[in-house]
Subunit: 185 residues, 2 copies
DNA sequence: CCAAACTTTCAATACTTACTGAAAGTTATG
DNA sequence: CATAACTTTCAGTAAGTATTGAAAGTTTGG
């Protein structure tokens, strides 16, 4: 699993492999994992998320380890992180002591979670830095200092506005927001 | 420069350092650089950008190297990248053979550039992957396969819509867009 | 068209982040 | 309350990125 399929039994040489549930799932997982890097999410976390996203049934840590060929420690760490984010839920299966995991399947909820996390990790620190620098440069004298202050203030104001918009955008009243957005833009 | 200032000459022990043009600039550069990591931008690139953002005058490669204490190769590579993105412009100064660099100062333009780049690096690959998987899973039989297909289709549609919105949002007719947005959200 | 001034490239290295596997910890049940 | 089933932690290692510095490449003025 998860290797690039070099050849498919019944396909002619050079032809695309015939698709199966498993092959499409593995393509999705592999590619989604590779994309994780671009998104600042590690590959294992992205792959686990992808796997759970397209699994109708909850999966155990062991099933995930086997499917993705990753170690227990890795699976465990990244599952906990996904649960922390709220992208994955632990579920109990009657008559089984192990933890099972399911992914949040609702696309808008996923978006809100990711948006919230990125705001927290990317926008808020920027805003804090900018506000501090604006404050500190406010009382400086000299043309050059004032130019810097003005530039920092413009940046700070912009980031502040963007943050407010993010908050409003990523709240769960999706049905009202999206159509309005489409209309305005 | 760029070290944490352990003490300021005239400040009492333990008190905050008095602010000067240089100290505020250095705080800004240092923090902005540290934030780069979170943003998927390397630290040097973020620091160079920060320095140029608050420099009213164009700077040479050597001035940047000295101010940030980085090597020539590093400065050169990251300046070229910033120029590629369109966040920094090379300018010619009469009577000097060296390249000088200035940053784009307009906040909305900076936003558009960053948004465009992130769309290119993050959204478009996702969309491509999803579309391919939706296509390949379309003809599969069986309940499980169809559930996967449906989930992939929902993801794909969402990312498609998000991409369209990004396009519309990050076009340079800012003055019409932002007020409308504020009203709707 | 030579020499000086400047820019680019790239192999070596340092730094950062992710992953493994085994050991320690926890919890449920007979 | 002992044991077995499962989960978490963590030191060591591997993989991935960023940075340096020196050498090669370009351009410009004399």
């Amino acid at each position: 699993m998860l290797q690039v399929e070099p050849e498919n039994g019944r396909a002619a040489a050079g032809a695309a492999a015939a698709d199966s549930l498993e092959s499409v799932r593995d393509i999705f997982i592999r590619q989604w994992g590779a994309m994780g890097s671009q998104w600042g999410v590690n590959r294992s976390m992205a792959m686990i998320h992808a796997l759970l996203l397209v699994s109708p049934e909850p999966l155990t840590t062991d099933a995930i380890m086997e499917e993705l060929e990753i170690s227990r420690g890795n699976a465990n760490t990244n599952l906990r992180e996904l649960v922390d984010w709220g992208l994955v839920y632990p579920v109990l299966v009657k008559g089984d002591r192990r933890d099972y995991f399911v992914a949040e399947k609702d696309v808008w909820r996923i978006f809100c979670i990711v948006a919230r996390e990125r705001k927290r990790r990317e926008m808020e620190p920027a805003q804090k830095v900018l506000e501090e620098c604006v404050r500190r440069s406010g009382s400086l004298e000299g043309e050059e200092a004032q130019a810097m202050h003005a530039q920092l203030a413009r940046l700070s104001e912009f980031v502040g506005t963007a943050n407010e918009l993010m908050d409003k955008l990523a709240r769960p009243e999706r049905d009202r927001i999206l159509p309005n957005l489409m209309r305005v833009l």
